[in-house]
């Protein structure tokens, strides 16, 4: 899974968020390391939606600005869990080797 996809899925893992909400959440998750561009965000959203990992829940207009909210689908949740487990396994393996070499 690409990092952008992983971060987007993570950003909506605890509830629905709109586009700019996802961007801000990703900045928080990555401690400011990643700022997703708008084009990158919506390209990834379209792809994740096509893969059935995310779904749009509702659209609202706030001060003339259209906001569409997204959330994880059950399939998206499973994909994110699998990715987290894969990353954890990688981290554990790396830690094990680092502690052995020290």
């Amino acid at each position: 899974m690409r990092e952008a996809s992983y971060l987007i899925l993570t950003a909506v893992a605890d509830g629905e968020r709109h586009g700019y909400g996802i961007v801000r959440e990703i900045e928080a998750i990555s401690l400011g390391r990643v700022t997703l561009g708008t084009g990158t965000l919506y390209g990834a959203l379209e792809r994740l939606h096509g893969e059935g990992l995310m779904e749009a829940t509702r659209v609202e207009v706030v001060e003339g600005r259209t906001r569409r909210y997204y959330r994880l689908t059950p399939r998206g949740r499973s994909a994110l869990l699998a990715e987290v487990e894969r990353l954890e396994a990688n981290v554990s393996a790396a830690r094990l080797r680092l502690s052995g070499s020290a």
């Binding site: 561009g37 390209g43 379209e46």
Partner: protein
């Protein structure tokens, strides 16, 4: 206009969004502008250039991601069907200049064939390339005139209605699979594809370019008497080709007409075709006339490009004829078994006399092709 966005900035963003596919823009433009307005409200001095670059890059990446692979795309351009996964792309494609895209695809194939031939024989192929492009341009009225029909038939072929919505089988409609065969379409297709591929190779092989004292580089196109023998051969070949094409037309086109009349008439004595055969017969006549003209011109040792121009347009023309014939025959149908080309999935009402009622089976909007 979006609240919180500078109108000029918004215009630039809308322009950058054109990198995305049409269907994407229709659904997400307002949302993206809203997100950018939110972002601008939340921070100061966002980089205009960076945002636009990101949008353009992501847009083309999205186009690339959703585009059918080359072979599927080419098959679709020649009249084939795309899997449902490409439905969005298909609808975008059909909403644009489909005739121009199809035409340019065919011409591109012929240009590639010509380039391959010239690469193989190591000779300059400028006249052939020029001829291909002019031939393509000459075929463009046909594409343009068929654009609406093309769109309608493509939608129907993919099981979609005029709005691009999948058509479910109508309740109470008995659908059965019938094997139909086609007589005229294979002839057109085989001639078209053979010419498309073999013509440039054949002509480059046939011509001994060293015998031409004037070259493209020197700007001379007039052929001298030195190459008379070759030109006689070319002229005769062009005339023979024209005669063969004429015979094929005689064999194939009346049969198509007869079938449509049979479908319309069904013993009622009507002889009017159900629909016009379109530009196909006209184009056949143009091809035959131009070939004959080119043959005569060549025999008179006038201009080499006359042959090239006339013959290079033939490949695309015949492929178009083949595809048109194939589609028409698929609609009108025939139960005569033929060994080489079969289409197995034509839906119709259950009826003991399919030839008489096949056309009616496709008339209702709820009739489904699988």
């Amino acid at each position: 206009m979006i609240a919180g966005l500078d109108p000029r900035y918004e215009r630039r963003i809308r322009l950058a969004l054109r990198g995305f596919p049409k269907r994407f823009r229709a659904e997400r433009t307002e949302e993206i502008l809203g997100t950018l307005a939110d972002a601008n409200a939340g921070r100061s001095g966002s980089s205009d250039l960076e945002t636009m670059y990101d949008l353009v890059r992501a847009g083309w990446a999205e186009r690339w991601r959703t585009h059918p692979p080359l072979v599927r795309w080419l098959w679709y351009r020649l009249g084939g069907k795309l899997p449902p996964a490409y439905r969005g792309w298909l609808l975008d494609d059909l909403s644009g200049l489909i005739w121009l895209r199809s035409l340019s695809s065919l011409v591109a194939v012929q240009i590639l064939a010509t380039l391959a031939a010239s690469w193989w024989f190591g000779e300059a192929s400028f006249p052939f390339l020029l001829g291909t492009m002019v031939g393509g341009l000459l075929s463009s009225p046909l594409y343009w005139s068929r654009r609406r029909k093309w769109r309608r038939e493509t939608l129907r072929r993919h099981g979609l209605d005029e709005l691009g919505i999948p058509r479910p089988p109508a309740p109470g409609l008995t659908v059965r699979r019938v094997q139909y065969s086609y007589r005229a379409a294979p002839l057109f297709l085989s001639w078209g594809i053979a010419l498309l591929v073999a013509f440039p190779i054949g002509v480059v092989a046939f011509l001994d370019w060293d015998r031409f004292p004037t070259s493209i580089a020197s700007g001379g196109w007039l052929v001298t008497r030195d190459s008379t023998d070759h030109l006689w051969g070319i002229g005769v070949a062009a005339l023979v080709l024209a005669a063969l094409l004429f015979l094929v037309s005689l064999a194939a086109i009346p049969r198509l007409w007869w079938r449509m009349e049979a479908v319309a008439g069904a013993g009622s004595g009507r002889t009017d075709p159900i629909e016009s055969t379109g530009a196909a017969p006209l184009l056949g006549v143009i091809a035959i006339v131009s070939l004959t003209f080119a043959g005569v011109m060549t025999l008179m040792i006038l201009l080499l490009p006359a042959v090239v121009l006339a013959a290079s347009g033939l490949g695309p023309c015949l492929v178009i004829l083949g595809v048109a014939a194939l589609r028409r025959e698929r609609r009108t149908g025939s139960a005569v078994p033929m060994p080489f080309v079969r289409h197995r999935t034509v839906a119709q009402y259950a009826n003991p006399n399919p030839r008489a009622t096949l056309r009616r089976a496709f008339d209702p909007p709820d009739a489904t092709l699988h």
